[in-house]
């Protein structure tokens, strides 16, 4: 018999938000809500979307799991492996490189102990991920953490301030449909 004990479930608040979003599209086009629902799923389940979470998304949208897998693997924002409490997305594209993104990446690797593309830092706090242009080139170099942009990270002081702020975040910031932010999931990798 299939076990249901480990199946992830959306919170009531998230379920209501998903239904609000699905109403934005024609009734027979519920699949349109794929990307917004994947974003909600990633925020609900510790910053990444496991195969089980993707199956849940398929359930909620009334589509086949493969339709979710092929999308989640196409778009770079969805993390398909467990991550640390904070995923630091470092822009590496030309305009940021001209203003020191390579140095920023090396600096972040040194102080967090994590490596770009590798597992989270040993304390489980930080995952480093290089991303392409974040459309904030005039404020380079840039790091995005969830919905927050940290700009002009061209001094050690600016980087320290960002990391201090993140270290103090016990919960991730609340999303509009939530009363409180969820606890940041601890890395289990």
């Amino acid at each position: 018999m299939e076990s249901t004990a480990l199946k992830p479930q959306f919170s009531e608040a998230a379920k209501a938000e998903i239904e609000r979003i699905c109403k934005q599209y024609p009734d027979d086009r519920r699949k349109s809500a794929m990307l917004p629902v994947l974003h909600i799923a990633q925020a609900e389940f510790g910053g990444w979307v496991s195969p089980e979470v993707q199956d849940l998304v398929a359930d909620v949208l009334g589509i086949k799991p493969i339709e979710v897998y092929e999308v989640s693997s196409f778009y770079t924002m969805f993390n398909l492996k467990p991550v640390g409490k904070h995923v630091l997305e470092i822009c590496r594209t030309g305009p940021c490189m001209l203003r020191g993104s390579d140095e920023l990446t090396a600096h972040l690797e040194r102080i967090t102990g994590a490596k770009v593309g590798g597992p989270a830092s040993e304390d489980g706090l930080f995952t480093l991920k290089e991303v392409e242009c974040l459309a904030a080139c005039g404020f380079a170099p840039i790091v995005q953490v969830r919905e927050q942009y940290y700009e002009q990270l061209d001094t050690p002081e600016a980087v320290d301030a960002m990391l201090a702020e993140l270290r103090n975040q016990v919960h991730r910031p609340a999303l509009p449909w939530e009363e409180n932010g969820l606890p940041n999931a601890l890395a289990n990798n």
């Binding site: 934005q24 024609p26 086009r29 699949k31 349109s32 809500a33 794929m34 990307l35 917004p36 994947l38 974003h39 949208l61 339709e67 092929e70 999308v71 196409f74 778009y75 770079t76 924002m77 969805f78 590496r92 594209t93 030309g94 305009p95 490189m97 001209l98 203003r99 991303v131 392409e132 242009c133 974040l134 459309a135 904030a136 080139c137 005039g138 404020f139 380079a140 995005q144 919905e147 927050q148 942009y149 509009p176």
Partner: protein, 446 residues
């Protein structure tokens, strides 16, 4: 100082709220259009304005609107392309986060002109925080009766929604965007059929850039002819430029089209010159996809005319000595910049962002990145330089969407104008690969 048609009030305290936005003349175009104009009259004003698509292609917006198929009983859509991802471009993010009601006003007036009753703003997923700002502003607009049923008693209904992407440059291509809005991978569609006939959910659809839609209110308020008086020739109105790279004052500047490039770079009113007292080496004037130009050719055309910030002047000389206005992503590079490394960085970007559908792009962008990588790291050979040009040529024109060209053009232009710097990486690999190495040769080969 030029007129600012879009951003005049961008720094007004509270301008993101409906009340303050209204106090500064906001939503007048909705009242004017819905109460005193027919939809076709609105389209006519946009045609007269000469407004050209601000996302990069520069196609006349009014003409695009007039192509929209209008079969009886079939819904049609206006979709705003807010998937701003072209390296060097960051104007739409600023515009939407600071002036959300300007975009919403343009969406309402534009949707009315096109006869759309449901419209979407497709915003790149990284900008979820801007989506929250837009959704708050949309809720205010519903409460004030500018959205929903029977807007301002006109009998016109409109629902407006914001839809996030998931991180994919290709979704800025309009048919990839529509696929993505349908919940699929962002694979561009074969054309025809064009979106004007079969777009979102196979229904007639217009896709416009944020800045194009944000220009609609002023065009409706002041009239297309008035708008067209600003600018030079077929480059009418104002344009937002995203200035970045090695400038003293990077940022967003709204300029009247026709401003000399030299004034834009060096005047304190705009970018304030090159940082650290250095000399300018090169500029990518319209986002990473357009050809790079060395200092001499970005300031003056090959015939010695002042280069102006217009569609025509920037493309003067074709790709031999000119470039394109593109999205207005203006990337300045100082004399210490390693052009080969920068070209490799952009090639890595296109390889990463290729959707993989067309072999010339999927494989070609990979080859460009690989060959540039070995040149940057001192393992290149002289024939690699021509190999780059050859690969670029084989991508161009052989793909479903323009990402192929966007990947090929910057490489071809870099080799064209900075060939001796590429050769230096082959002849002096140890010197060229040292951290902070600066090409000692003359700056310009054109």
């Amino acid at each position: 100082m030029g007129r600012k048609l879009l951003t005049e009030h961008i720094n007004v305290e509270g301008i993101h709220t409906l009340d303050v936005y209204r106090k500064h003349g906001g939503y007048r175009s909705v009242e004017k259009a819905l109460k005193t104009m027919t939809p076709d009259e609105v389209v006519e004003e946009v045609k007269k304005s000469g407004l050209r698509g601000r996302g990069g292609a520069g196609f006349p917006t009014g003409l695009k609107w007039s192509f929209l198929a209008k079969p009886e009983g079939v819904p049609r859509y206006l979709v705003c392309n807010a998937d701003e991802s072209e390296p060097g471009t960051f104007k739409d993010r600023q515009l939407m986060s600071k002036l959300p009601h300007l975009l919403i006003e343009g969406m309402i007036t534009g949707s009315y002109a096109l006869g759309a009753n449901t419209s979407y703003i497709y915003i790149r997923g990284e900008l979820l925080y801007v989506l929250r700002i837009l959704e708050k502003a949309i809720a205010e607009a519903y409460a004030a009766g500018f959205l929903g049923k029977n807007i301002l008693g006109s009998g016109y209904d409109l629902d407006l929604y914001v839809h996030p992407g998931g991180g994919a440059y290709i979704c800025g291509e309009e048919t990839a965007l529509l696929e993505s809005l349908e919940g699929k991978r962002g694979n561009p569609r074969n054309k025809p059929p064009f979106p004007a006939v079969q777009g979102l959910y196979a229904r007639p659809t217009v896709v416009n850039n944020v800045e194009s839609i944000a220009a609609v209110p002023v065009i409706v308020n002041e009239g297309g002819d008035e708008y067209a008086k600003i600018g030079v020739g077929k480059s009418t109105g104002t344009k937002l430029f995203s200035a970045c790279g090695h400038l003293n004052k990077p940022g967003i500047y709204e300029i009247e089209l026709g401003l000399p490039v030299e004034e834009f770079i060096y005047s304190d009113e705009y970018c304030g010159g090159i940082w650290k007292g250095r000399d300018l080496k090169a500029v990518v004037a319209g986002g990473s996809s357009v050809p790079i130009l060395p200092k001499e050719l970005i300031l003056k055309t090959a015939t010695g005319e002042d280069r102006l910030m217009t569609y025509e002047s920037l493309s003067d000389g074709g790709f031999v000595t000119g470039t394109m206005l593109g999205s207005g992503g203006f990337i300045a590079m100082d004399e210490t910049t390693n052009i080969v490394r920068n070209t490799w960085n952009f090639s890595r970007f296109y390889h990463h962002e290729s959707c993989g559908q067309c072999s010339p792009c999927r494989e070609g962008t990979g080859w460009l990145e690989k060959v540039l990588h070995r040149l940057v790291h001192g393992h290149g050979q002289m024939q690699d330089i021509d190999l780059l040009v050859s690969v670029a040529k084989q991508i161009e024109g052989n793909t479903i969407c323009p990402l192929g060209e966007a990947a090929a053009w910057p490489v071809a232009a870099a080799v064209r104008h900075f060939r001796d710097e590429f050769e230096w990486h082959v002849t002096h690999p140890q010197e060229a690969t040292k951290p902070g190495a600066i090409f000692p040769g003359k700056l310009v080969t054109a």
